[in-house]
Symmetry: D3
Subunit: 341 residues, 6 copies
C-alpha cells in the first residue's frame, strides 16, 4: 500500500519525565533524572532512527524548559523545525519505579495549562505542514486533552488527507484523562479520527469499550477476530494493528502482535521478556508497523518487526525507543547472546 515514504510527522504534546533514580520513592530520594518524551516524540524519533525524517508538530514555551526540551528532542533525532514556541509551561510527570510486587507510580503535574494544551487556533500552519509530509501520526492521549486540541487534530488530519498523505491513529485510551463517563464522551471524537485514519492501532477492548461494539465471544482472541474486521469495514481502515500483552508471575511480560490487512490477520510469535522500562514500548510497536508499511514488508515481517521493536523498547532506559532497524532485525532472528565484542 504505502511505499518508501520518508517524511513523517507526529502531532502531540512533549512531556517532561522526572524519574526518581533506582527504586526509591519521591519521599525518600533527593534527585530526579529528566528526559522529554510523549507519544509523538517516541514515534518521530523511532522512525528517524529507521532512516526517515521524523518531525514533531507541537508547541513549547520560550524559556529554559522549552529550550531543554527542544535540545533533547534533537538529540533523539527528531526534526524540530515544525515546533512552535509560545505559552508558558511544559507538562510534567513524576515516575517512581516499581519493583516486583510494588507497581511503578506516575504522578502528573497540571497538564491542561501546558503550551501545547493552550495553543490558540492559528498556532500551526497545517496547510504548509501537510504539503511537507507523507504520513501523520496522532494518538488517543492527545484526543483526550480538550476541545481546542481536538480541533487542531482533526484539522490537521483533514489537511494531510487532502494532500494525499497517510493518517495513522493510535487509539490509546487513558481512563484518567477522560474522567467520569469517559467512553461516552470519547466515542464521537474517536469515530471522527477513525474515519480519517488509514492505519489504526487498537485491539478488541477499544472496539468494545470506546466504540460500544458487542460480541458473544468470551475469549480475547475470538473477540479480536470478530471485532477488528468489523471496525475496519465500518470505518474503511486499511490497516489495523495492535498487541495482546500478558504480565507473568515472574514479572516478565508476554506480547503477541497482530496486523489485520486485506481481510486477513497475521500474528507475531509470542515473545516473553524481562522489562527494564515499560513506558513508551507501545509506541515502538506502532513505529515498527508504520516502518513495515512504508518499506512494503510482508505482513509476517511487519508484525514480527513491530513486536521485536516493542520487546527491545522494554529493555531501553526512558520512554523513547533507541533501536536501529538492524538491532531489531537481529533480535527477530537470534537468541539472546553473550557480550558483543
Amino acid at each position: 500500500m504505502i511505499n518508501m515514504a520518508k517524511r513523517i510527522a507526529a502531532f502531540g504534546e512533549v512531556m517532561m519525565r522526572l524519574q526518581v533514580p533506582g527504586y526509591e520513592l519521591l519521599s525518600q530520594a533527593s534527585s530526579l533524572h529528566y528526559t522529554f518524551s510523549g507519544t509523538g516524540v517516541n514515534i518521530s524519533s523511532a522512525l528517524a532512527r529507521f532512516g526517515h525524517t521524523g518531525y514533531l508538530i507541537s508547541r513549547l514555551p520560550s524559556n529554559a524548559v522549552g529550550d531543554a526540551a527542544e535540545a533533547y528532542l534533537r538529540k533523539l533525532g527528531v526534526n524540530s523545525s515544525m515546533i512552535t514556541r509560545g505559552g508558558n509551561y511544559v507538562g510534567m510527570y513524576f515516575l517512581e519505579n516499581g519493583f516486583g510486587a510494588r507497581p511503578s507510580r506516575v504522578t502528573y503535574s497540571n497538564r491542561q495549562e501546558s503550551s501545547f494544551n493552550t495553543a490558540p487556533e492559528n498556532t500551526y500552519n497545517f496547510a504548509e505542514i501537510a504539503k511537507d509530509i507523507d504520513i501523520i501520526h496522532f494518538c488517543g492521549i492527545t484526543l483526550a486533552m480538550n476541545d481546542q486540541v481536538r480541533r487542531h487534530m482533526k484539522a490537521l488530519a483533514k489537511e494531510v488527507k487532502a494532500c494525499g498523505g497517510i493518517v495513522v491513529f493510535d487509539c490509546n485510551y487513558r481512563p484518567a484523562h477522560w474522567g467520569e463517563g469517559g467512553y461516552a464522551k470519547a466515542k464521537p471524537h474517536y469515530e471522527d479520527m477513525l474515519q480519517l485514519a488509514d492505519i489504526v492501532m487498537m485491539n478488541e477492548k477499544d472496539a468494545m469499550y470506546i466504540l460500544g461494539m458487542q460480541t458473544d465471544q468470551t475469549e480475547r482472541q475470538e473477540q479480536l477476530m470478530e471485532l477488528i474486521p468489523a471496525v475496519a469495514d465500518k470505518y474503511q481502515i486499511a490497516v489495523i494493528a495492535g498487541t495482546h500483552r500478558h504480565i507473568n508471575n515472574d514479572n516478565t511480560h508476554s506480547l503477541r502482535g497482530f496486523i489485520y490487512k486485506n481481510q486477513a490477520f497475521t500474528f507475531s510469535n509470542l515473545l516473553t521478556f524481562s522489562i527494564y522500562d515499560r513506558i513508551g514500548a507501545g509506541d515502538a510497536y506502532t513505529s515498527g508497523i508504520v516502518h513495515g508499511e512504508i518499506q512494503g514488508f510482508s505482513p509476517e515481517k511487519t508484525v514480527g518487526f513491530a513486536a521485536a521493536a516493542g520487546m527491545l523498547a522494554h529493555t531501553i532506559v526512558g520512554d523513547t525507543p533507541m533501536s536501529s532497524e538492524s538491532d531489531i532485525l537481529r533480535a527477530m532472528t537470534e537468541a539472546v547472546g553473550d557480550v558483543e565484542r
Copy 2:
C-alpha cells in the same frame, strides 16, 4: 515587647525547587536535585531550629509529591500538623545556578493551580489555629497570588490579632507576580496587611514604590531614615526591620541590617561575604529579627543576630536556613577560622 513566645506559624505556599546540580543549564544536564521550600517553610524551620515550635499553615495534594513535601518539611523541623491535604499540584520552580558574570535563572511552572493557590474558602480552621499560636508570619509573595489567598491571609491575621497574637509581615514585593500596573494593584492589599502587622520587614524602596511615599532625599540611607519612621507612624507598627544589600564586583555581597523600634534606628555592622546560595537568605534575616524580639535581645543584638543569620544562610545549600542559635552567635563574634575539629 514580646517575650519568650514559643509557638510560631507561617502561612504560605510550599514550592518544589528543582535545581540543576553544579553549573550546567537545564538544556545541558540530565538530573535535578529537589527540595521543598517557600518563605513560610524557611521561617518556620529557622525558628524551630532556634528552639521554638514552628508550624506551617498550608495545603498540599494527597499524592506522592505532597507526601514527599510533607516528609521534607518534617526533616527541616517544621511541625506539619497544621497542613491540610487537598487539590492536585505543588508549585515548582527550576533553578539554574549562575557563575560569575552569568546570573542564576529561575523558571516557574504554573503556580496558580497549586493546592495552596486553589484552596477553597473553608480549607483552614483559622479560629482553632489562632488559639494555638503566639506569632503568625505572612509575606508579600503570598499576597500576590490571588483574591482567595488574600482573603485567607487577612482572615487569619485578624483571628491571630483577636487572640492577642503577634503578626509579622514581610513586604517582599516580586514584580513578576503582580504583573503590569503591579504597584497600584498591590497597594491596598499591602495597606491592609500593614494595618494588622506588629513586625514588618521592608525598606525605603517598599515605602516609595508600593506605598507611593515621597521623599526629597537621593541617598538610600537618608531615604530609609525619613520614610521608615513615617510608615511606622502611619500604620502603627511596633518594629520595622530590613536590609541594604550591595553586590560587589568580585561577586561577594555586602549586607547591613537595620531595625526601627521605639522611634530609634539601630544598624548592624556591614558584613561582606561569599555567596553559595542566594535564595531564602532574606528569610533567615527575618527569622533572626523575630527570634531577637521573642528573646528580648537588645536592638543591637537583634539586628546583629539577624544579619549574621542572613550571612550564614548564604553559605548553606538550599533555600532554607540551617544554622543553630549557637552557630549564629559564634559567627557574630569570630573571624572565619580553620577547620573545626
Copy 3:
C-alpha cells in the same frame, strides 16, 4: 482485645546504615548512601504511616551525626519528642549488597560505645513516658546489648504495664550479639520480657533454642503448632505471631505468616516475591500485626495484612517500611499490575 489505640512507642537504638551503592564492594567503591534505622525506628515509622503517633524512645549524641539522625527520623514520620540527647556516638553498620550467589555483607562499627548503649540510669523518665503511650515495642536485639540497656527495657515495660498499656516483644535473636554460650545467657532475660509481654513475635526456633523447649516433631510446621501454644500458656501471652521464610533457588523468597490467639492458629497465604532490600522486612510484618490488633481486624485479615506489609517492605529501598495502609490492602487483593498512571 486492643482497640483503636493511637500512641505507640518503640524503645531501641538508632543505627546509621552506610550502604555501598549498587553492587560494588567497600574495597571497590568510593561513596556510601546513608540512612538511619533500627527495629524501633522501623516500627514507629511504619505505625505512624498507618495513622498512629509513633514515638521512638532512644538516645542520640548532641553533634552533627545526632542532628542528622533526628532529622531523618522526623522525615520517616517518627515523633522525636521522646528522644534524649547525650553521649558521643551513633552505632553504624556498612552494607555491601549481594548479588545472586554472593550474599549481602554487614560490617558493624563499635556499637557498645553508642549514646544508646551507654545511657546512664536516669536517662529516660519512664514514668512520664508510660502515661503518654498506649503501646510499647521492644526487640531481642536491644535485649542483647548490655546490662544497663536491659535494665532500661525491663523498667520501661513494667511502667507501661502498670499504666495499663500493651507490651509488644519481638524475640529477634541475633547470635553475633550474644556471643559464645549465647542461648543460656539470653534465656533469663527473654523470660523476663515474655512475662511482661502481651504480643510476642517469635517462631518454633525461638522456643527451642532460646527457651530450651523440647518437641518430638521434626517438621517445622508441627514444631510450631506444638510449641507456640505451650509458650503462650506458660508466659500468659495473648498474641503470638511470626513467619516461616524460605529462600528459593531463583533468589525469590517465600513467606507465610501465622498468628496464634485465643487458642487458635491462623495462617496467611504463602507469598513468593523478589527481594530488593531484605533488611527490616520483619519489622514491617510486626507493624502489620500490631496495626491489625489495634484496628480489631479479624485474625485472617491481620495475618494477611502483616504478610503483605512484609512482602512490600522487601521491595522498598532501605530498612524502614514505606507503604501506606491502602498500598498494603491493595497488595493483598491484586495481582502485580502494569504502571499506575
Copy 4:
C-alpha cells in the same frame, strides 16, 4: 561587508572530552563526564544559537561512539547533515580540572587514527557543500593534523571562495601538535590559509612566531598595532580580530578584544571575570566576531559582543558556548545582578 548570511559550516574534528568531575585527579576518581566538542563544533553550535544554520563538516565512525557524538552535536544545535560516517575512532582527551595554584591538565589519546584524521581523499563532496553554505570556518588545530587533512582544508576553502563564500580562519597555533621545529613546518600552510581567508583570528604573537614577522616594539599593544595591519595588507585580509588575555593573581582572567577592519583598530573594554571552564572560550569570541560581521554590527558593537560572548563562555560548563544573542547583549550592558526570577 557581509550581510545577514545564514548558512555557516565549520570543518574540523569532533573530540570526545572525558572530564574528571570536580577536582580529583584521574588517579583518584572513578567516573568521567563526557561531551563532544572541537573548534568546529563550538563555532557551528554558537552560530546556530544566534539564529543561523550551523553545519559541521567532519567524519565520525559508524559505531556507538560515533552515534553518541552525532546525537550530542544535534543537541547542541549543530546540523549534522554534512557529517559523513567511516573510519573507526573518535579522538579523545582527558581533562583534570585545576584549582588555584594547580593548573588544569589535558591528556590526549591517539588522535591521528581518528575517523577525521584518516579520511581518504574523496570523503567529502566539497563542490556540493560549497554551494549550500555562505561561510566556512577553519582553524589552526586542524591544519596541524596531517597532510591529507591539510589537503581537505585547502580544497574546501578554494571551493567556497569559488562559490563566493566567506572564509574564516582562526590561527590557533598549538605547539604540541606541530612538534619540534613547528613554526617552520607550519608557516607555509598558514600562509596558504591566510591567502584564502577573509576573516582571520590571530594576534601579534602569531605574526611573530608563525609568520616570522619582526618588530622593534617591546610592548604587546604596540607590537599588535604594528604587525596586524602588515598581515592584513600582505595577505589581503578584510577583517583580523583577536584578544589579549591576562591571568590575574586571584585566578580571574582579564580579556580585551580587538578588531582591525578598514585600516582601523577597535578595542573592547577590558573585561575581568571568574573562570568556570577555560576551554573553548576563544571559539565563543570568534563566533561573536562572525555574527557581528553577518549582522552588520558596527566594529564597536562587534568587538564588544565578541568579548562578552567570550566572557560568558568562561562561565559555562563544557567547551561549547551556550549563550543566546540576548544573553550576550544583556551581559554587555548590565552589571552582574541578583538571581533572575
Copy 5:
C-alpha cells in the same frame, strides 16, 4: 605437580574500561565509570587475593592515564614493580550494559597504538624477570596483537621455562582480533605457545577451529573427551582445563568446568547462576585452576574451586575477580543464604 609456588606473573595489556552506568546507551548517558583491567590484570590480581604475589608484566605511558592505571592495579593487589613506562596511550573500550533481550555492547578505541602493543624489542628484561617468578601466564588475546608482541611472549615463555618455571596459556581466541582467515594465521602461533605450556585453558572448539583437529563426534561433551587428550598428548601438556557455558532462556548462565590431568577428566557440578558482569569471569576460572595446582588440591577440589570462582566473578562489578579463597570455599559448600550479619 606444582606445590606452594608463590610468585606469579602475567604478561598482557592493561585496558581502560569505560562503562556507561546502569542501562543507558552511550548516546543517552553523560558519564562513564572507569576501571583498568585485562586478562593479565585479572589473573595476577586474583592470585594475589589468594595469597600469592601477583606481578603484571606490561607497559604503560608516563602520563596521567598511566598513573591512574598503575594506582588502580595496586589497589587490586597487583605488584606493579615489573611494569615499565613508555609509549603514549592505554587501550580503551566502551561498555554499554545489555538488559534481557538486548546484549551488552563493547566498542574499542584504537588498541594497536597502545604503549603495550608498541613496546620495542628491549622493553622488558625477561632474563631478570624469569629469575624472580615461579609461574607465568599468557593468553590468546595478547597473541593476536602483532608480531612484536608475539616475539615478546615467546621470548618470555622460553626464559621462564629455562629457569624451571611453569607456563600457563589460555587459548582465548577472539575472532575480531585476528580478522579474515584468522584461524590459519593464528595456528602456528598457538602451536608455539602450546609447546611451551604446562597448563592450558581451552576446550574442544579451540582444538577444532584453531588447531584444525577432526572428530566424528557431534556432541560437545564427546568432542571434548576425544580431542583434549589428543591435544595434551601432541603438545605434551600436563594440565588442560576449561568450561562449557550455556546461556539459559531466563538470562541465567550454566557452567561446568573440567580438568584433564594424568590421562583423566574431572568435571565440576553444573552451576546455574544470575549474571551481574560477564566480562573477566573466565579469568577467575583460570586463576582457580592455577591456585588449585599450586596448592596441590585434588582434581575434584581444583575444578570445583575454579568453577565456584568463575561463578562468583559473575556477581562482581567489573572485569576483575574480587573473591577471597574463603569466599570461594564457602560458595562451594553452601546454598545461597540470607544477609551475612
Copy 6:
C-alpha cells in the same frame, strides 16, 4: 646530613574519612565520599610519590573495612607489608565542608576502640622493622591516643635509633585529644619524643604551650627565632622546621615555611593561595622537608620545596598529597598558568 635514604616508614592510625559531597550538612545530604588517610598515610604516600619506598606501620581489622583501607593505601602508593591485621574497627570521622563564613566541621566516631588504638603489646615486630627502614615518622596525634600506643611509639623510635635510622617527629598538638589539663599531661611524652628525634616539626607555640618555655617577645616571628634554637639545643635536634599560617579575609591562606639547621634559620617566600581541602596539607610540608633532607637539598631549596608541596596539597581533593616532585618544582618557579595541553 642525610643522603639518598630510600626506605621510610610512618607509624600511625588509618582513619576513614566520610565526607559529605559539596556543601551540604550531614542533616541535608544522603551520600558520603569515603577515603582512608591519617598523618602516617599522608607522609608515606607523599614520600613514595617522590620515589622512595613508603611503608605504613599500623593495624587494621580483618574485615571489609580493613580490606578497603588496605586497598586504598596501596592505591596511594603506600607499601602495606608492615600493616598487621587484628582488632575490630577503623577510626572514622565525618567531614562537612565549610563555605566562606561557615567553617568546615569534623565529627569523630569512637576512635579509642580502633584496631590501632587497641593493639596489644607484641603486635609489631619493631626489631625486624627497624632493620628494614632508614627513616621513621611519628606525630603528636598518635602520641595523644593512650598509654599503650605511646609505649609502641617510644619502643619503635628507640629501635630505629639503635639501628642508625633517622627519627622524624611532628609535634602536631590537638587540644581535643588531650582533654582538660592537656599540656601538662602531654609534656613528658613530648619530651621523650624530642629526645629521640632528629627532625622535628613544630613552631613557637609548641615551645610555649607544650614545653612551657618562656619568652618576652610578643611578635610570632621573634618568639620563633628565640625559642626554636633553644629547643634544638636542649633536645639536641638536628633539624627543626615548621610554618606560620595566616587566614586572610578573602578566605585565601598565606603560608611561610622555616627550617632551622646548623644554628641558622632559612625562610621560604610567603605563599598566598586558595584552598580546596585544608586537611593534611601540613603533612605535605613535612614530606617536603624530609625529602629535601634525604636529597641533600640546600636549606633554601628544602624550605621552598616543602612550602610549595604544602601549597599544592591545599588544591588537592582529600587529605593525602598527590603531587610529584616535578609538579612541586614547577610550582616553585612558575606563575599560575593556563590549561596544560
